[in-house]
Each structure stands twice: as structure tokens, then as C-alpha cells.
């Protein structure tokens, strides 16, 4: 190939390389400020429930339908709060909990609701003040279904279909 073509290709390649960087800059510029989303659009999405329990057992579609799917706070500061169960909820005051309880008697990671083969279970995660199902303090993972009352600190919760 002639020298001139080689030079042209060389400079052309470098120009494209820098054009890529300019494009990147432009994407960053248009991405600087987020977009405002009305909060109402987000209701369908669980607050931070992207991660279901790691060892979620596979249940048949039918069995899943019969399970409760909402956790409702009935007493306490956050009474009325509803949360989809979706395979598991971590309850506590740490930011990685799906249900962040505003309650002085709740530990950082207090309790966990998990989906097992027989339905939902509650498990205490070594909390200070304990986790209670129907006023029985938990010592082991305990089944938890509609009709049971879960108490953590001064907050009462039930599950509903």
C-alpha cells in the first residue's frame, strides 16, 4: 500500500478512537442528572426486595398461589405498611433489610421470613429482644401463616393472601 494510504488509515483509526471518547463524554453529560420519577409509579416495585432468599425452594405454581403474599404491619409506628413477601423478607434496622422497622427494640438484622417447602417460616437472627409468633418466643425457625401474629419489638405483623 502507498505511504499515503497507510498514513490516512493510521490517523483515521486514532480519530475514531478519540471520537469514541467524545461519545462517552456526551453520554456522561446527558447522564449527569437523574430523571425524576413520580413515586406513585414505584408502588408496584418492592422497595429493595430485588433479592429473594438464596435457597428458595421450587414450589409448584398452584402451591405458590395458595401462599400468603403480603406482610402487613398492624400495630406500631408503621401500622398500615404493606410489603410483598416474594420468597423472603429480612426485617431489622439495617439498610439491607427489606422491611426497615422504625422501632427502638429492633436489632440491626432482627428476623428473617423465608419460604420453605411447607410455606413461610420466621427465623430469629440472634436479636436482642426476641421475635415472637403468637406470643411464643422463637427458638427455632417457626412456620408462619395467615392467622398468626408476628411481634418484633413493639411492632405487630400479620400475613395476608
Amino acid at each position: 500500500m502507498s505511504e499515503l494510504v497507510v498514513l490516512g488509515l493510521k490517523l483515521g483509526f486514532l480519530a475514531l478512537l478519540w471520537l469514541f471518547i467524545l461519545f462517552t463524554g456526551n453520554v456522561i453529560r446527558t447522564d449527569l442528572f437523574g430523571r425524576k420519577v413520580p413515586a406513585a409509579e414505584l408502588v408496584a416495585q418492592p422497595a429493595s426486595g430485588a433479592a429473594p432468599a438464596p435457597n428458595q425452594p421450587r414450589l409448584s405454581r398452584r402451591a405458590l398461589k395458595q401462599l400468603p403474599h403480603t406482610l402487613t404491619v398492624t400495630h406500631g409506628k408503621q401500622a398500615g405498611l404493606q410489603l410483598p413477601l416474594e420468597g423472603g423478607v429480612l426485617i431489622g434496622r439495617s439498610s439491607d433489610c427489606q422491611l426497615l422497622l422504625d422501632d427502638d427494640y429492633v436489632s440491626t438484622r432482627h428476623a428473617r421470613i423465608t419460604l420453605s417447602a411447607g410455606g413461610y417460616q420466621v427465623e430469629d437472627l440472634g436479636s436482642t429482644n426476641g421475635t415472637f409468633v403468637n406470643n411464643q418466643r422463637l427458638t427455632q425457625p417457626t412456620p408462619f401463616g395467615p392467622g398468626d401474629t408476628l411481634r418484633i419489638g413493639r411492632t405487630l405483623m400479620i400475613v395476608e393472601k
Partner: protein, 509 residues
């Protein structure tokens, strides 16, 4: 809480930039053959299919699992990989029996991209990693010190940073980078307040308490051990620098980087005094021409970059093969020779942009663990690229680090792709529009109960301060209550019912 701020998905932008990046990598590959033989390479359809396939699969996985992930990280990484592959292929052609390490590297790229995809598919929420602080810490340390195990470690080119498993050799430190950034991030989330607040003030600098110095001293000693026994300057610098920078990010105290720099200078000086391999590196940095044979590699890299000039010799027209280890440590010198300073600066800028995207994710992150993790990953890349490119261009003493994504080598490629996978996961969680869960401080105060003061200590009086004290502390701090081994009080025993509420002056009416 009427509006929340979120980011657009921008997957279309990612697809476009990805195609652009792959086209640039392939363009380099085609130009090599055009410049050398004036014809298209015989296997060009395969190269196009392979790179496009990798890009397509990763893009689809990201689109499926992480729709809000940062749109720029993947194209930047693919471009660096494409340029690296083309340059390795070019160096293959330069050897007399033509080597085929670019094909092998392409295979490693497939494995690395697959590892990244698997991580993205199986770990969507990075926050679960926060639970394994000390396990991660121990695993990282073990990986870092694994090459010292007799029989397993392997000494290559003067540094003992390899282990061999069967026919393959592997650099465990590459994986340790990722594991230790996770460990540091979750450790600092727990401890940042005590590290930031406790301690005295000397000469206007807040010094931490002596007992809080434990972790930084452990890291310093491990880094020194790596320097002394593995003879690897780069790894040692990388891990200590990473830890110090993350401490700074977590505590916002300038005393940490100052202390870290002092410790580093002390360690480096001791290393220089006592170890020959450090002295060799320093002399080849400050005065390479004093010993031409010993500093042959560094000198040749300088000649190569000088030969390239501003715009380079063009793909395939330089002589980068003269530099030993041009495919691994000195691939940046090869780029500098054939693409010139313009190309080398562009490559540096690409790394800078990856770092900037990581820091951006860190700024936007709502939870401290995400903040620290993204910052840590960004710093790993920043320190590593600074150290190796600084070494190649003789800004710093040469450290035997790999150039991320470009250097030949499977373990580095896999570790870096997995790191990028984790960064993508963090950016997805961070950029997703989520109703803001963190309370404003004002709301916190209003929601908090007035301090309970027990009057007439009954059978199980509540511990004073235990109820309200921990409520206002941030998410990062551990609860104070579990430390006291008093029998837990449950409301059934009438224990934690507030006996009497005493209004404090200035409290709520």
C-alpha cells in the same frame, strides 16, 4: 416523598457504544494485516463473529438482569479488550515462528465474559456480600499469601506470585483484589464511625486511637510480606494503597492517607535498604542507562515509545517485539509505539473513564456498603493502571502488575471481568429509581421517642439509654444493645413498657 430521582436505562446507548468499541478492536486487527501484507486476514470472519458474539451475549445478560446498569462500563471494557487482543495478535506475528497466544487469549476472554455473566445472573443484589466480612478478609489474605506455600507457589521472572495447578498457572492476587475490596468495604461500614471519631488531635491532624490502628498495621505487614517474600512491588503497593484510600473514603479523615503515606514511605525505604530487587527497580527507574543489560527492557520500551512519536508508526509497522514481555507488562509500550502518544493517552483516558464511572456510582449510592464497594473497585483499577502505566513510561519504578483487560493472561482477565460484573451490579442497584427509604435527619428526630427515664425500678427495668441511644445511630453502626449480657426483656414481663415519660426541656410539646 412525591418524586424520586432515578436514571434512564440507556441500554440502546450501551448497544451502540458496544458496537463502536468492537468495531475499533476489529479495525486494529484488520489494519495490522493491511499494513503488513496488504490483504485482509484469512480468519477475519471468525474474529468478527467471536468478538461480536461475546459482546452480544454480555449485553443481553445485562439487559435482562441489570436493566439500569451503567451503560458505559461494558463498552469501555470491550474496547480495551479489543485493543489488547489486536496488540497481542500483532506481537504474535512479530515472533519468528508465528505464535498463537491471541487465540488463547480470546478463549480466556470467552471464559472471563462467561464468569461475569454467571455472576450477574446469580448475584443480583450485592448487599448479601456484606455479611461475610471476616470470611472474605481471611480468604483474601489466604489468596494473597498462597504463592508462598512451598510446592504450590511458582517463581517466574523473579516474582513469586504464581501458583500452579496441573498445567495451568494462576495469579491468586488478581482474585484477592476483588475479595479484599469487598472485605474492606463491609469492615469499614461497621467500623467507620469509631475510626473517624475516636482519637486525639496532634498538630491539627485527628489521629486515631492506638487500638484502632490494628487493621492498618495488619495490612501494612501483609503488604510488606508480599514485598519481601514474593518480591512483588506492584501487588504490595496495590493492596496497601487500596486499604488506605478506602479508609479515607469511609472516614473522611485526612489523617489516614497521611499515616498511610508515612508507613508506605517507611516500608519502601526499608525495602530499598535491605532488598536487592527493590534497588534494581529503583536504579532502572532513575538511571536506566547506567546498566544497559540489566535495564534492557525498560530502555527498549522508552525507545519504542520515542520511535512511535505523536501518532505512532501505525498498526503492525513498529518493532514492539524488541521489548521483552511486551505482551504482558509492557503492552502499553507496544501501544505507545504503534498508536503513538495519541493512542496511549486515549487508552489511559479509557481507564480513567472506567474509574470515573465507578466513583460516580459510589457518589450516587444510597447505602454505605455500596458506596465503599464501588469506590474500592474504582480505586483498584486506578491504582493498578497508575502503577503499571507509570512504570512503563518511567514515571514510577516499574512494578510487575498487569494492565487490566489488555495484558495477556487468563487469571487477570477473569478477575477483572468478575470485578466489572460486580461494578455493573452495584451501578444497577444504585441507578434504579427506588423510593427513598432513608429518613431525613429531621424526621428521625421527630419520630424518635422522648428519652425514657424509669421511675421506681420495677422487676426488669429497662436499661437506661439502651432504647433511644441506638435509634438515632446510622445504618452502619452496630447496635449497642447486644453487648450488654443482661437477660433480654420482653414486653410480656412488663419490662419495656415505658414506666413514665419525662419531657426533656426543648422536647416536643
Amino acid at each position: 416523598m412525591s418524586d424520586v430521582v432515578g436514571y434512564r436505562r440507556r441500554r440502546g446507548v450501551e448497544a451502540f457504544m458496544l458496537i463502536f468499541a468492537i468495531a475499533l478492536g476489529l479495525g486494529g486487527y484488520v489494519l495490522i494485516h493491511l499494513n503488513r501484507d496488504a490483504e485482509l486476514p484469512a480468519q477475519w470472519p471468525w474474529a468478527v463473529a467471536a468478538l461480536t458474539g461475546i459482546g452480544l451475549v454480555v449485553h443481553i445478560v445485562v439487559r435482562w438482569r441489570l436493566p439500569y446498569a451503567d451503560p458505559l462500563i461494558l463498552p469501555l471494557v470491550m474496547l480495551l479488550n479489543g485493543l489488547g487482543l489486536a496488540m497481542i495478535h500483532r506481537l504474535d506475528l512479530g515472533t519468528d515462528p508465528v505464535m498463537h497466544s491471541a487465540e488463547l487469549q480470546l478463549m480466556w476472554l470467552v471464559i472471563a465474559a462467561a464468569a461475569c455473566c454467571l455472576l450477574i445472573i446469580f448475584l443480583r443484589d450485592y448487599r448479601v456480600l456484606q455479611r461475610y466480612t471476616y470470611t472474605m478478609f481471611l480468604a483474601g489474605m489466604a489468596l494473597l499469601l498462597l504463592p508462598l506455600v512451598p510446592g504450590l507457589g511458582l517463581e517466574k521472572n523473579g516474582a513469586r506470585i504464581w501458583i500452579h495447578l496441573g498445567n495451568y498457572s494462576f495469579q491468586p492476587a488478581e482474585l484477592a483484589k476483588l475479595v479484599l475490596s469487598i472485605a474492606f468495604a463491609s469492615y469499614l461500614v461497621d467500623k467507620r464511625e469509631v475510626l473517624a471519631l475516636a482519637g486525639g488531635r496532634v498538630l491539627g491532624i485527628d489521629l486515631p486511637r492506638p487500638r484502632d490502628l490494628g487493621p492498618i498495621l495488619v495490612m501494612w505487614l501483609v503488604s510488606l510480606a508480599v514485598l519481601v517474600f514474593q518480591k512483588d512491588l506492584g501487588t504490595s503497593l496495590l493492596f496497601f494503597g487500596l486499604f488506605v484510600m478506602m479508609l479515607y473514603v469511609a472516614t473522611e479523615k485526612p489523617s489516614w492517607p497521611i499515616l498511610g503515606t508515612l508507613l508506605f514511605v517507611l516500608g519502601a525505604y526499608l525495602g530499598y535498604l535491605f532488598f536487592g530487587h527493590v534497588q534494581v527497580r529503583v536504579s532502572s527507574w532513575l538511571d536506566p542507562f547506567s546498566n544497559y543489560d540489566q535495564n534492557y527492557q525498560v530502555i527498549n520500551a522508552q525507545f519504542g515509545i520515542a520511535f512511535g512519536g505523536a501518532f505512532g508508526t501505525g498498526w503492525g509497522l513498529g518493532r514492539p517485539n524488541l521489548t521483552p514481555l511486551a505482551k504482558t507488562d509492557f503492552i502499553a509500550a507496544a501501544i505507545g509505539e504503534e498508536l503513538g502518544v495519541a493512542g496511549l493517552l486515549a487508552v489511559m483516558l479509557l481507564y480513567g473513564l472506567i474509574v470515573a464511572r465507578g466513583l460516580r456510582a459510589s457518589l450516587v449510592a444510597r447505602d454505605p456498603f455500596g458506596k465503599l464497594l464501588a469506590a474500592g473497585i474504582a480505586f483498584v483499577f486506578a491504582i493498578q493502571v497508575f502503577a503499571i502505566l507509570g512504570g512503563v513510561t518511567r514515571l514510577l519504578p516499574l512494578t510487575g502488575l498487569t494492565t487490566p483487560f489488555m495484558s495477556q493472561g487468563g487469571s487477570s482477565l477473569i478477575a477483572n471481568w468478575v470485578t466489572v460484573g460486580l461494578l455493573l451490579i452495584v451501578t444497577h442497584q444504585v441507578r434504579r429509581p427506588v423510593a427513598d427509604q432513608s429518613f431525613e435527619p429531621q424526621q428521625w428526630l421527630e419520630a424518635e421517642t422522648t428519652q425514657l427515664i424509669p421511675v421506681g425500678a420495677g422487676a426488669g427495668s429497662p436499661r437506661p439509654g439502651a432504647s433511644t441511644g441506638s435509634a438515632s445511630s446510622g445504618v452502619g453502626s452496630e447496635e449497642t444493645a447486644p453487648i450488654t449480657p443482661i437477660t433480654p426483656i420482653s414486653p410480656d414481663e412488663g419490662g419495656d413498657e415505658p414506666t413514665e415519660v419525662v419531657q426533656l426541656p426543648g422536647g416536643r410539646p
